[in-house]
Amino acid sequence: MNQPNRIDSWLLQDDEKPLTITEDPKIPNAATVLLRKQDHTLGNMIRAQLLLDPTVLFAGYKVPHPLENDIIIKIQTDERSNPADALKRACHLLIRQTVHIKQQFMDQAKNIEMGMGPDQALAGVNNGNYDPYSDGLGREGNTIVGGQVRDNNQTDVYDF
């Protein structure tokens, strides 16, 4: 069979560099980053984070060919920064977010496994004011914390 080896779609060869940065010959502060053996998982995430960066003027990614397991990210920044820094910054921030999410997941998972239910979660459900994060962002001015609900409510708050 002439099917390419499937492992090659995510594992770098021994002599392969994970990434190359090619500066754009005409546009200042612009570069094309070639990420090898990566796909939409990383490309789209990085692209989205780059666009939140105030110094980034342009960010886009594509999979140039469906049979080649590389992605390219094009980045243009203003003079305050440069594409490599912007890329590093985006990855840093994504890592922070991921660490934050993992922390929250592990805390809540621990609570659930100990039978306590997710802390202060689902507090407002029974009142029709669902505000899972208790920060008032979900509904206007209706932040109800667990204790109150537990006191004046008949049903189990953590009945999920």
Binding site: Q108, P118, D135
Partner: protein, 386 residues
């Protein structure tokens, strides 16, 4: 909640200090970079959680990584010694491959065969299972069911010698010891075997006088190779249940709501106000996940490993950029012990993240995840054998 975010970062959302970023540029906190998670349900098989405050792209990446990048073990090679049933060998081998095997701790407790010194599988990179059944035709039964419960684990070659309190300690490398210590005692057992109430998986039916005798080799792998290695059977992922953002079009004949029933998650969102104009600045921001495991790995561990893999990949990009641009030379050779990937000096000071170990080490994020660790770091690899 989707896109209905009131004003700038308010109330109890912690104002995270954004410092120590490359280039000294601050990225303002917005509605898509302050993640908040709510686990609504979690058991061994299934979890249901809401993730908000992230980009759609990020949410999708998490879904993708949980489905396709978390390693498990599955039968990959089958040696047929005898098969006289009408089921062809290929078909039976395929069915065997799809049987979920208990893979707890496989991230650290088993090697990829391509990373192993052995030639074609050993104790450190493979689980061997045997299936030997025959049917003589007892009790007037016309046929016998061959199920996954009949798969028996047999020791793989090259395992550590049996413990001998009098002899010298066995000659093992640190890598080998780590594998032995992290290896789950049930590794490779078909899911549900020996548990009453879990129906076994039917592999074949066997008539009178027929016989199956085969040896299976189960290897570690990921679902990018073949879907049989996926730890999850389903990841449901949805957002913007009322289609307020108009990311899709609901084609309908007479009544849109009747023909497109709302998902059960819709109770967590405010219904749209028809009098309100379309908010073209709105972005999706709450994502509803339901991940359902095949029980090879507890679903909690799948989520954690997925997040770790994201961190690992992103850290890899940072390292590669540093190598490519040649700056921060002193930082990139921080250590090969897997404990220090990239450590920005002031990174660990960021409160709320509490990861002084740096993000090269997923285990440093919290200590009770049994399955943190490193997955097939691509260095020092022997030539691919499979």
């Amino acid at each position: 909640m989707n896109g209905y975010y009131n004003g700038p970062s308010t109330s109890s959302a912690p104002a995270q200090p954004v410092g120590g970023l490359p280039g000294g540029i601050d990225v303002p906190l917005g509605q898509t970079n302050q993640p908040r998670l709510l686990v609504r349900n979690l058991n061994n098989t299934e979890t249901n959680f809401h993730l908000s405050g992230v980009e759609l792209a990020y949410a999708n990446s998490l879904r993708r990584v949980m489905m396709a990048d978390v390693p498990t073990i599955a039968i990959d090679q089958v040696l047929f010694l005898q098969n006289t049933t009408p089921i062809p060998d290929e078909m039976l081998a395929h069915r065997l491959g799809l049987v979920p095997l208990i893979s707890k701790g496989v991230a650290k407790g088993l090697r990829y065969t391509r990373d192993c010194e052995c030639d074609e599988g050993c104790y450190y990179c493979m689980v061997t299972l045997k299936l030997k059944v025959s049917f003589r035709g007892a009790d007037g039964e016309k046929f016998m069911r061959v199920t996954s419960d009949m798969l028996e684990i047999s020791p793989s070659p090259g395992g550590p010698p049996p413990p001998n309190p009098y002899g010298p300690p066995p000659d093992l490398t640190d890598d080998d010891r780590q594998i032995i210590n992290n290896r789950d005692s049930e590794l490779g057992v078909p899911v549900g075997k020996g548990q009453p109430g879990v129906p076994p998986i039917l592999l074949a039916k066997m008539g009178q006088g027929q016989e199956i005798d085969l040896v299976c080799k189960a290897y570690k792998g990921i679902a990018k190779h073949h879907a049989k290695w996926s730890p999850l059977s389903t990841v449901a992922f949805e957002y913007d249940l009322y289609n307020k953002l108009r990311h899709t079009t609901h084609w309908f004949e007479t009544d849109e709501r009747a023909e497109w029933p709302l998902s059960s998650n819709a109770v967590f969102e405010t219904p749209p106000d028809p009098s309100e104009p379309f908010d073209y600045n709105a972005v999706p921001s709450t994502f509803y996940y339901t991940a359902e495991s095949v029980n090879s790995i507890p679903v909690r561990s799948v989520v954690e490993q997925g997040l770790d893999l994201l961190i690992e990949n992103l850290a890899g990009v940072i390292l590669a950029v540093q190598k490519e641009t040649g700056v921060d030379e002193d930082e990139e050779d921080g250590g090969e012990n897997g404990d220090v990937g990239v450590v920005e000096p002031d990174f660990s000071g960021v409160d709320g993240y509490g990861a002084p170990g740096g993000y090269g080490a997923p285990g440093g994020v919290g200590s009770f995840g049994a399955n943190g660790g490193q997955w097939g770091a691509g260095n020092g690899m022997s030539p691919l054998r499979r």
